[in-house]
Symmetry: C2
Subunit: 466 residues, 2 copies
Amino acid sequence: MVSEHAAAQILVASNRGPVTYALEENGELSAKRGGGGLVSGLSAIGDSDGDTALWVCAALGDGDREAVRRGVGEPGVRMLDIDPRVHADAYNGIANSVLWFVHHMLYQTPLEPAFGPEFRAQWASYEAYNRAFAEALAQSAGADAAVLVQDYHLALVPGMLRELRPDLRIGHFSHTPWAPVDYFRMLPDDVAEQLLRGILGADRAAFLTGRWADAFTECCVRVLGGTSGTRIGVHGLGADADFLRERSRRADVEERLVALREQIGGSGDRKVIVRVDRTELSKNIVRGLLAYRELLESHPEWRERVVHVAFAYPSRQDLAVYRDYTAEVQRLADEINSAYGVEGWTPVVLHVKDDFARSLAAYRLADVALVNPIRDGMNLVAKEVPVVSDEGCVLVLSREAGAYEELGEDAVVVNPYDVMGTATALHTALTMPQEERAERTKRLAAAATALPPSQWFLDQLRALRA
Amino acid sequence: MVSEHAAAQILVASNRGPVTYALEENGELSAKRGGGGLVSGLSAIGDSDGDTALWVCAALGDGDREAVRRGVGEPGVRMLDIDPRVHADAYNGIANSVLWFVHHMLYQTPLEPAFGPEFRAQWASYEAYNRAFAEALAQSAGADAAVLVQDYHLALVPGMLRELRPDLRIGHFSHTPWAPVDYFRMLPDDVAEQLLRGILGADRAAFLTGRWADAFTECCVRVLGGTSGTRIGVHGLGADADFLRERSRRADVEERLVALREQIGGSGDRKVIVRVDRTELSKNIVRGLLAYRELLESHPEWRERVVHVAFAYPSRQDLAVYRDYTAEVQRLADEINSAYGVEGWTPVVLHVKDDFARSLAAYRLADVALVNPIRDGMNLVAKEVPVVSDEGCVLVLSREAGAYEELGEDAVVVNPYDVMGTATALHTALTMPQEERAERTKRLAAAATALPPSQWFLDQLRALRA
């Protein structure tokens, strides 16, 4: 599928790499390989074209740092041992506490953000962290190499790399939403400009949906006066159908299915509303529970006939606002169970321990999948559920998720702030005739897998080279 | 100035009217007349054209309701005795807790807003409250009358009135900002549509700045597909120079001047940074204090040479989030005074008791006025200070205030979220040469009074009739 070209070097840059190392008790390092779209994509290149690939990433933990010191490493991976304080300031302080909040519109604006001296110190670390990547890439890249820079952690890299190596083809991909201009401009003016100019250092800046691409373009136009000739593209990452179908039929998933059915109870005739999320502020788990409570209140016929299986996996528990949010999810689930639960029926089954096999089991048995983020770059749960569903599953989908652009037509669409509307959508979903549900699931699965990860990656590469 | 026309009837509709009644201990009702742009405007009509005016407003307290019951009333004022619970739901529940928050982007979005059953009940009250106004206006308006409907409390009135009385000329004026479309669409879809269609029931919808007018238009285009032929206008309400100059020279203001100078201390050679606000979440008092603290930190030469006079008058203390905000203002002021204060110098002089004469005194003596709202329809403080300043005053102005459109050129402009940038702006303002400061103040005063309240009102009327 890649257009004809001479064999060339491809570099990927991202904060997290394809492998992490753990220091075992015996002093040995053990490697653990990750998955995802980039891993699939990189493994797809080189097969036919003779391309070579290098992945530049940050050492994230003590194991990774030790691996760098020992010179241990997988071929094709270069880990950067950046000062842990610099990395923490850049990653936690700026990327996840500022840029993530801006693009997802998560701030309590009367008090946050307040860009004071602490922010300025962290911003200097973000610059240093980006510079370390730019320098490593400049050093590692051969002539005519293509460099694919990933996400908001590395927004300054394309511009920095362009100055060091004007000969390279540079792409940047944003995996998050992009903020509306009124929200983006909360950032200090020089920081806002640096971020935009950083990404515009790329030949091509790409996004998960047209909506986020348009928001980025509007920011460039309003803040800088234009996009300086950088091409803007869209690649809607899809689900990996082959992997999911195979993985979800393994024995560990079957075991989880049995256990989940037992927790749900009701001898198999209860409907199941499933959600699977990190406990992330943007995922909207609390309003999902409020909507479920409203369903039980306004449609009491569902009591004892439905169970809400909610998986809310811990995320960023180092931040107070995330801990508070997690506590609120637990509190509300308990409250609903106290208020409505009866012998033999627990209205909300909440699990907070991450278990991928159990997530797949829940996908398989779900009658309804609730995906209601207040803002989300794409949301892969929405794309994975239709692929593995055993008997068809109605997707209740927020219009603020990137996936809405591709799946909106066959989903039951909700405004994520509208608890009453979401309750109504849940009722609509639960009462959808089996035939319609199966047809929609089929179409959803087709749309969800239209651009599988390897193709998503190769498309970017081809577009960058065009 | 009004274009030629036969004498006609003009109706104004607003939640708060030009007069309020208090029930005295002896059972008598005492009337208190208010001020503002509408009062000035209405008093200006009729003088030359023979027009008649009627102001339709809500009875707000027990005194007002008693006045309605007794048939007491000023000529030209019709008070509506709406059920107090309906009024409270519409005014506090919807207008001030939802619409105000949406247009000023004040929500803590991970948890708020959550549009559940309580919202729906309050929304029904908002509809009923708007309907009461529409019916009263329909009943009171003669043929060819012009009706000027005010603000977000009464957004549904133009549409409702249009149905009852297609013959009327209807205008609507928004005194707030208008939300960006991504924020506005948090509202339940039917509510968002009703609000837009309500305002579009007017022949003309007007705003304080082009920015808010554009945001409204974008919401109409994105949500409804267009503005349905309603004309969109802008009238930037200015300060009332004659009133302010006369009022600020009265004896009570002179007394306050003496008292303030004593609190400031330093035998008259200290610089004074003044802010005057309600303790409103959008006014950004906390970040203002943080910026002042940063000024003392990064420019220690200002210690003992500057005082921040902050007036933060109580607002909406029935809401927990406002009480918390007020407490944070007080806490931070105390913290700064503890950290930096010395014998004979109190860095922050905070007053929380509303006193208009003292505000005027502070305007007169201010070297710098800090007006840094995170979002503000106009902000009249920014326009009043230059008018009454004794020796010229540097205006540090948020670009998120509507006043920025008219005053930005001669102000020191800040991004209100940028505490470091605001501290730098304060330093720039404090060190501005006296001559430049005086020249800028002169130009600011001219721009601020370009459209005095009576003219602002008459312009709207003329445009509506055009």
